[in-house]
Amino acid sequence: MRNLPLALAMIGTTALTMPAFADGHLQIVDEPLDLSIHMHWPRSQGYDESYAVERVAREMTGIHLREATFGRNTSDSAEAMNLLIASGDMPDIVGGHLIKQPVNEYGPQGAFQPLNELVAEHAPNIQAFWDSHPGLQQAISAYDGNYYYIPYLPDGKYGRAYFIRQDWLDILGLQQPQTVDELHTVLTAFLNDDPNGNGLQDEVPAFFRNWEEVIRLVTFWDARSSGSDTYHDFYVNDEGTVVHPYAQEAYRDGLTMVAQWYEEGIIDPEVFTRRSTAREYLLGENLGGFTHDWFASTSGYNAALEDKIEGFNFVPFLPPESAGGVRMEEHRRIPIKPDGWAISHSNEHAIETIKYFDFFFSEEGRLLSNFGVEGETWNMIDGEPVFTDEVLNSSEPINSQMYAAGAQIQRGYWQDYRYEWQWTAQAARDGIELYDQHDLLVEQFLGVAFTEDEQVIYDRYWPSIRTYMLERQQAWVLGSGDLQADWDSYVETLDNMGYQEVIEVLNSAYARQYG
């Protein structure tokens, strides 16, 4: 204690002359510690030890990650993970893309260390995140009640939005549709009244890059198409029961209307085979009028097609009111990704490792993992992290620049939406603000973890039921079969195929996990 003033003085001067982290308050180990890491993710099949973020994280914490990724010759992360587990030789940290399923399957068998106690005792920042985001810790838990990985946690609520050609509306003297009936009127006018003015009836009023988005239209008749950001997923109904949207009566009536729209030709007749090129082609050729797609990328077409199509203006608008009077945006960003990192059973430094994971949830670590190194790719301006002009004006996309620096990679970290907002087009920002003024989003079903017995039942019945559902669904939309007449036998077939058994295991798992 005698030297306290001296120590304070020293801290004070270093804080003035050195970077903020040099005071060592984030230091985890006294002696430098090496931890090996498997990090397989889509952009890079490995962990680059020369990342700027790694360099700084090492200086701040004393922990040095050593690249030990398995399966670098495949781009399929799930396959790489399987190879790693089957090899039996696991590095200290196992991270990257799509690790939730393997971690939750093999964690209870002893391949990974449970994190509950480690986090509660040694990771105050992660614990604080769980406390302020109820339900998320449960969502990543395995069936034994433990959780085995720290996830990548995306930020930002909105993913997709409804877009319409405002310039076409203006040409035809129409208003943005506020109800599903008005939407029908507008799309019919797009089909018949030649808004692109070329004298041909070649407009494709409603088009989608993913045919599943056609099914999403059932939300205009108060049905559901999915409970999460994955298509055809289960959802939790008003009674708190997990059910499948395609076994509900609302879906029958909604899909009947969708089939009718398809028959009328206001939905792209080729929607099932056009796939990813639909948006590029139909907007570029001045043919498409309405879609449901991602805010940022879809807004980008206004700038891209400015010179090619006079007056081109494709704007996000509020979801029209459903037949039951509800505005709903069923799609939203999932708050938890199946990506992140876990501690393997062979790691002898579990406490240091969880502290290192926790570092990325601290203020400094979060900025580092989102924006890269301060002073290199960004600066703090009025309390906000702002990318340098060099980064913002580079010909390389900002996310690629971040990946190169080791930021925004699929470690377990909490994304900061300010990262994306800085380079989101104005049209998209306006749209997001518009959507934000209304209560459009619905609760997401974040999935359940099955016991081995439950998993057996789910695996036995569900894939076939799903196949059958999708077969019937497309057939009905394409007009083979009368949905209303077929419905009873459809439901009966689902039951015969084991639908009730699947629902039963889902709900028992759901009650155990979230109850």
Partner: protein, 331 residues
Amino acid sequence: MSADPNVTGPKTEEIVLGAAEATRRRRGSRMVRLGDHMKREWQLYVMLIPTILWLLVFLYKPMYGLQIAFKDYSLFRGVAASPWIGFDHFETLFSNDQFLRALKNTIIISFYGLVFGFPMPILLALMFNEILKQTFKKTAQTIVYLPHFISSVIIAGIVITAFSPSAGIVNTVMGWLGFDPVYFLTKPEWFRPIFIGTGIWQEAGFQSIVYLAAIAGVSPTLYESAVVDGASRWQMMWKITVPSILPTIIIMLIIRIGNILEVSFEMIILLYQPATYETADVVNTFIYRQGLQGGQYDFAAAAGLFNAVVAFTLVMTANTISKRYSRTSLW
């Protein structure tokens, strides 16, 4: 032949003993001969080693893993430590209507593929052989080989575009002839013709190379004597070329039959829709949806093992039949 063996020939037991001795010597000399051969031609055997190693490492060692078809397999526990569960996976497989449908589709697609696809490369090879102008022959060959080198993803893209109801060439031509456009790729009844046609277009040219090589091996003296006898080109093709390459054709047929359950699965994934599962879903796509997407390797192994057993039986049958009736066989 003498009437009295006691006078002119050896006694019966001497004949038997002599034969046994000869066999013994022959066996021994065969071993010696193999040893000599190895010493003399050791370079050939050295060159054989990589192939044998490849077979051992990639085909024989994995057979050890086939047991997971009868186990509740966990990647982490490993093959040996996973518990046995008997025929559970096979029961699940055969109690599934969609598997039976997929099996039926596989057989139908393969059968039509065989009927229409197998003769095509042979016909192409015969036709190429009749072309006298070298530049034309080379150009034609390059054009028919080309689709083989294009990735399936691109081929599927071309097919989808060609059969598109609004812009596709097929529907455009049908429009000129006064037909209504058809959305082919969502019609179950059209899937098989499109798929098989695509397969023929993609592979027939490349497969014809084997037959061209066989034709090149036919002795020119046969043709020369046929010309002397005044045979027409047509007669030479049917009486000389085809019989000469018949063994090749039969071997290729046997191999093809062995692969009858191996329908080009990536192409189906790229072309099918839930709407066409009815005719398009094959065993491999079924396994893919059912097993691999959910990481059920044990289940997928069971289906794979079933595939292998069927294929093995078919090859054996085809080989035996061929051996009996044509004296040509794989082994």
